[in-house]
């Protein structure tokens, strides 16, 4: 699988940043985010626990990163 060149990614990010300055009407209003603010919807509710279990996965598998939190790796036996 080929990924886009870093320059193109940077350009896309800059375009996103530029768009953020425009007035975009949020389709989910702040007062409609009560369910998303519920603790059961937290993407990373327990940072210490999540970091630990990702460390275990990286130690036991050959892949790393892409899960929104950890990177690096581990070659544990």
């Amino acid at each position: 699988m080929k990924f886009a060149r870093p320059g193109r990614i940077l350009l896309a990010l800059l375009a996103c940043y530029g768009l953020s300055a425009c007035s975009v009407e949020p389709w989910v209003k702040p007062y409609e985010r009560d369910r998303l603010a519920d603790p059961i919807m937290a993407l990373e509710g327990d940072p210490v626990s999540t970091a630990y279990i990702q460390h275990v996965y990286e130690a036991r598998e050959g892949a790393r990163g892409g899960e929104g939190a950890a990177g690096g790796g581990c070659g544990c036996n």
Partner: protein, 378 residues
């Protein structure tokens, strides 16, 4: 024979925003965790303590102490070396700075063991956009490792590691939030384990094989693309699905998928998760080489073998303090227990203790991972 560990970029995790409302610093909290890994002849346990505290309206500081106490008689160790015990200590400190819709984070992580020393410097910036429906995060980290050998004080090798990450978190509906993450990691330096060996066919040996040190390429670049979505079910429960595609220059290609269900019941919250991971092996991995120094690079690390792993998780949390029942400075408190059962099938790595050459069974690993922790918000 000893562990070789790279530093996990914990700072990205402990600095993650905990709110979907955007433009706010993470909550003040403290966590005290005990972890224990048991499986494949290896036991690793120890504590992890995290404290996070705001200072004013724009700054938040975080610190983490983590300890691994290792007792290892793994399949690698019992076949080519002697069982051992050791410790790894990790410290990290970080700071979040909020200005408008922008959050900047800096952190430093140190990991020390008797024969491995790692330092990581990390920086990231997040921008909340489009009425806080979208959060874009760019991250960078630089790591330096010093690899030693416990039996040779003159042995020293260096590694450097650079991490580039882009993350996009998007509120899609009032019930659905998703996050897309792309990460590239580049390593350069001494990347193999200084203790581990590969085996090769040797007709002069009674076993039919002998061992020699492994030899890895001195560079590695990996790309990972992950997508995760969490949905609020109509009866107050949550369902999360995740997929990750991974590829690297060692020709490992991996697919990871998981499904998580979260169900609150009074002060309790129950969580169940199934995770699946499948990968091809590194180009230079072989369970047995045809002869000594048969290839330019060679490795027999079982994590570089083609493999499939399955994880089953059960977790229960009990909230003993909530917004209606605080205690002193503490607004909320929870006690948590989780058990992850990990089962790994190796498709080329064989258990050389299971029989004579040619009749050895493929190795399988079964491990239990226990966590018990208490969290306070103040």
């Amino acid at each position: 024979m000893k562990f070789r560990r790279h530093l996990i970029f914990l700072a990205f995790l402990v600095a993650l925003p905990g709110s979907v409302l955007g433009g706010v610093l993470p909550d003040d909290r403290g966590d005290v965790l005990y972890h224990r890994y048991e499986g494949g002849g290896v036991t690793i346990d120890g504590p992890s303590v995290l404290v996070r505290k705001k200072a004013g309206k724009s700054l938040s500081f975080v610190g983490n102490y983590y300890l691994d106490m290792v007792s290892s008689a793994s399949i690698d160790v019992i076949t080519t070396a002697s069982p051992y015990t050791e410790e790894r200590t990790q410290w990290s400190v970080g700071m979040d700075y909020l200005r408008g819709n922008t959050t900047m984070r800096m952190s430093y992580i140190s990991s020390v063991e008797s024969d491995f020393d790692a330092s990581t410097y990390a920086f990231s910036v997040s921008e909340d956009m489009f009425g806080d429906l979208t959060t874009l995060t760019l991250s960078y980290a630089f790591g330096e490792d010093i690899v030693g050998r416990s039996d040779d004080p003159t042995f020293r090798r260096d590694n450097t590691r650079q991490h580039y990450g882009v993350g996009l978190t998007q509120i899609l509906t009032r019930n659905l939030i998703a996050t897309l993450n792309f990460e590239t990691v580049t390593d350069e330096g001494f990347l193999n384990n200084p203790y581990r060996s590969v085996r090769y066919a040797d007709s002069g040996s009674a076993l039919g094989f002998s061992f020699e040190p492994e030899l890895y390429p001195e560079t590695r670049t990996s790309n990972a693309l992950g997508l995760r979505a969490r949905y609020f079910l109509p009866y107050r429960a949550a369902l999360e699905a995740e997929y990750r595609f991974y590829t690297d220059t060692w020709e490992i290609e991996g697919h990871t998928a998981s499904l998580t269900y979260v169900h609150p019941w009074g002060p309790f919250t129950f969580e169940g998760k199934f995770r699946y991971h499948d990968q091809t092996g590194a180009a230079f991995f072989q369970d047995i080489f045809s002869r000594s120094e048969a290839t330019n690079f060679r490795g027999r690390d079982k994590e570089l073998s083609p493999l499939t792993s399955y994880t089953f998780r059960g977790k229960v949390s009990y909230e003993f303090l909530d917004k209606n029942k605080g205690w002193g400075i503490f607004k909320r408190g929870s006690l948590n227990f989780s058990l992850d059962h990990l089962f790994v099938e190796y498709h080329e790595f064989r258990d050389i203790t299971s029989g004579p050459l040619g009749e050895e069974a493929l190795y399988e690993l079964s491990a239990n991972v226990y966590q018990i922790f208490v969290s306070f918000w103040y």
